[in-house]
């Protein structure tokens, strides 16, 4: 308790070198704004958000493909809730539904098994998005549908991996002096995965949990380690140095690394995973969905890469609000703009 008080007063009174810290995890974004953490920091500490929300980094052509599939006969597109309201180049899945498309919101990919069994004449396409943390779930789904010989479930994959996009973001002109490493992703990858980047860019990485106190401690550690290319793990109850081998074995049975398209960042080599060729039967046409489309005036790309804060976007809070979102960052509950709009004045 005394330590946290000490950290709080240190961060409020900090008057050293200015620092810019980025987090790349939607749950961190949400916790930072929910705990009002920015109001507790000195002006010398600036927080920015990175590409940590799976919905926000999805490109328009992927959403267009989902909409197209939903309008095909005997096809139903299944998705987590947030994806449904994000617009592609023209329409969102919500709009496709109004045009007669079949869309089903689910809480877990595994919910699909019973749905697909009850309606064998429909092909259920799951909008498989997510990072290292979510991919094992799709592997479990594949295990199960192969075991049960279910033929009418397919995946449209836009699965991403974190390391190479961090490299890309740190190469941009955003003056980042430290990274709050993603908590959930690190559970799978291990904290060592960030070591090459800490060394290459000469900045500290701190792996953090999700409680307000844990984030304050991570910010404190990053300020203290300013200028040092090291990785520190403050989330030791869940994260080890090494990767989770069991999870890797499961995902690499079905998936292999591939280039991936990121909203606002373009195609990044080795930053995603695709279904291996021997499981191509379960793919609903994921390859080559690289085209992006940004609505006029939307700064999602700059927000995701830390070049702009949400309130620096000209549309923020004016034409772009959670009830009428223009960009993906305002739709998703993990999006920077959604969280800033809801929790900041």
């Amino acid at each position: 308790m005394d330590k946290i008080k000490e950290i709080i007063s240190f961060l409020k009174e900090y008057d050293g070198e200015p620092v810019t810290l980025m987090e790349v995890c939607g749950t961190h974004t949400a916790s930072i704004v929910e705990n009002g953490i920015e109001s507790m920091l000195s002006d010398k500490i600036r927080l920015i958000t990175g590409p940590g929300c799976p919905v926000c980094v999805t490109v328009a052509s992927y959403i267009d493909k989902l909409c197209e599939l939903s309008l095909k006969p005997n096809t139903c597109v299944c998705s987590f809730g947030d994806m449904i309201r994000v617009k592609g180049s023209k329409i969102s899945l919500d709009d496709a539904k109004a045009q007669g498309g079949r869309i089903l919101m689910v809480y877990s990919p595994l919910d699909l098994i019973n749905v697909a069994k009850e309606d064998p004449h429909t092909t259920f396409v799951f909008a498989a998005v997510g990072f290292e943390t979510t991919t094992p779930l799709y592997a479990v789904l594949l295990e199960e549908i192969i075991k049960q010989d279910i033929k009418n479930i397919k995946l449209l994959c836009a699965l991403k991996t974190m390391p190479m996009v961090i490299d890309k973001v740190l190469s941009a002109e955003n003056n980042i002096t430290g990274m709050i490493a993603p908590g959930h992703v690190s559970v799978i990858t291990g904290s060592d995965v960030f070591a090459p980047f800490a060394e290459k860019f000469g900045i500290p990485f701190v792996v953090a949990g999700f409680e307000g106190e844990q984030l304050l401690a991570a910010i404190w550690a990053l300020v203290k380690l300013n200028g040092k290319g090291v990785v520190k793990n403050l989330y030791t109850e869940a994260v080890t140095k090494e990767r989770n081998e069991k999870s890797y074995a499961l995902t690499s049975k079905y998936f292999e690394p591939c280039p991936a398209a990121w909203r606002g960042l373009g195609v990044i080599e080795n930053s995603g995973v695709r279904l291996k060729d021997e499981y191509a039967f379960f793919d609903a046409g994921s390859d080559g969905l690289y085209e992006d489309f940004m609505p006029k005036g939307c700064s999602c790309a700059e927000v995701i890469t830390g070049l702009k804060r949400p309130e620096e976007c000209p549309l923020f809070g004016k034409v772009c609000t959670p009830s009428s979102p223009v960009g993906a960052c305002m739709v998703s509950h993990e999006g920077s703009c959604f969280n800033y709009y809801n929790n900041k004045g």
């Binding site: 709080i8 704004v33 929910e34 705990n35 009002g36 953490i37 920015e38 109001s39 507790m40 307000g212 106190e213 304050l216 959670p322 009830s323 959604f338 709009y341 809801n342 929790n343 900041k344 004045g345």
Partner: protein, 325 residues
């Protein structure tokens, strides 16, 4: 026995259904006359409200759609400072609904009405094609003596009080839908006792709202907008039961946007705050009441977080959990 379209025909089956279930449960002199409309005594100033109830599931821990339909409308009348007097009850029933369930729902309505001191003076029953669903509309009339409460009447320095723990109804319904086993029970209840005691003691209540759909965050924003003031609250002061707290954490929900059906928030003059809190705490359903903040010049809702940070509290965006009432 199941409800069929014949029960909505207006003929013999309808008559039997009404007599055996609704009239038998609600029994009172006005309703028993079975006229086309109810004729009742009035008051110089009355409050009128109406609400439709479509909750899924119909039965949940702590209550059912019938109890909800009475409490929801009674509480809406109370929140303007009215004493609830009369209710109407209209059922839209899908064929296939279970008659025994209907009986339980009507009995719960009668029992909640008795507790709230209201009589159900008129009703309607329709049966439609469907799959066993039951929907209820209740309208209510209450008498206002003295000053009414209104959202626009909040004043600077007013103290903000909630009558108990937040999120219980929402968490109970969600637990039921997700098949999660716990002891969380809906807080659905008529808040007559609390409101009557505050009025009797002459507490200067300026505004009062029941914290239903949209949760405390949404209601406080509406109060702030209507009064043109800023609502300052402390996260640590907001009562939440330990079970609901864990539930919310586990599912990543926001307690500020979770609905209740038996809790109110009010703003009272600063000098009456402690007395008002004591009165609410000693009233029925108010034992966990707490002062959560105060009203100042400005706009919106600002929360001091448990960690000591400050943040804006927004209204619920999107649909939240559909069909909780």
């Amino acid at each position: 026995m199941k409800i069929t379209l014949a029960h909505g025909s207006g003929g013999q089956s309808t008559k039997e259904l009404i007599e055996k279930i609704f009239a038998a449960s609600y029994k009172n002199d006005v309703l028993d006359m079975m006229e086309d409309s109810a004729v009742v005594n009035g008051s110089a100033k009355i409050a009128i409200t109406t609400d439709s109830f479509v909750v899924n599931p119909l039965f949940f821990k702590g209550g059912n759609i019938g109890k909800l339909a009475v409490c929801g409308t009674v509480n809406d009348l109370l929140m303007r400072g009215a004493t609830p007097k009369y209710l109407t009850s209209a059922f839209i029933i899908e064929e296939g609904a279970d008659v025994n369930e209907l009986k339980l729902i009507a009995a719960a309505m009668a029992s909640a009405a008795r507790e709230a001191g209201v009589i159900i003076v008129a009703g309607d029953t329709k049966v439609i094609e469907g799959n066993g669903g039951i929907y209820i509309n209740t309208s209510g009339v209450g008498f206002i003596e003295g000053e009414d409460f209104a959202s626009s009447k909040c004043e600077e320095d007013d103290v903000i009080i909630v009558s108990g723990s937040m999120g219980d109804h929402h968490a109970a319904i969600l637990s039921h839908r997700m098949g999660i086993k716990n002891d969380i029970s809906s807080d659905v209840a008529p808040l007559c006792d609390i409101v009557a005691n505050l009025k009797k003691a002459g507490i200067k209540v300026h505004a009062m709202r029941d914290v239903t759909r949209g949760g405390l965050g949404t209601v406080l924003n509406e109060l702030a907008d209507a009064s043109g003031k800023c609502f300052n609250i402390e996260e640590n002061a907001i009562p939440v039961s330990s079970q609901v707290k864990s539930f919310v954490k586990l599912l990543g929900l926001n307690i500020m946007h979770m609905g209740n059906e038996g809790k109110l928030v009010c703003t009272v003059a600063k000098e009456d705050a402690e007395k008002a809190l004591a009165i609410i705490k000693s009233g029925k359903y108010g034992e966990n009441a707490a002062i959560i903040g105060k009203v100042t010049e400005g706009s919106g809702v600002v929360m001091e977080t448990a960690l000591g940070g400050k943040k804006k509290v927004g209204i619920l965006i999107g649909e939240g959990l559909p069909r909780i009432c």
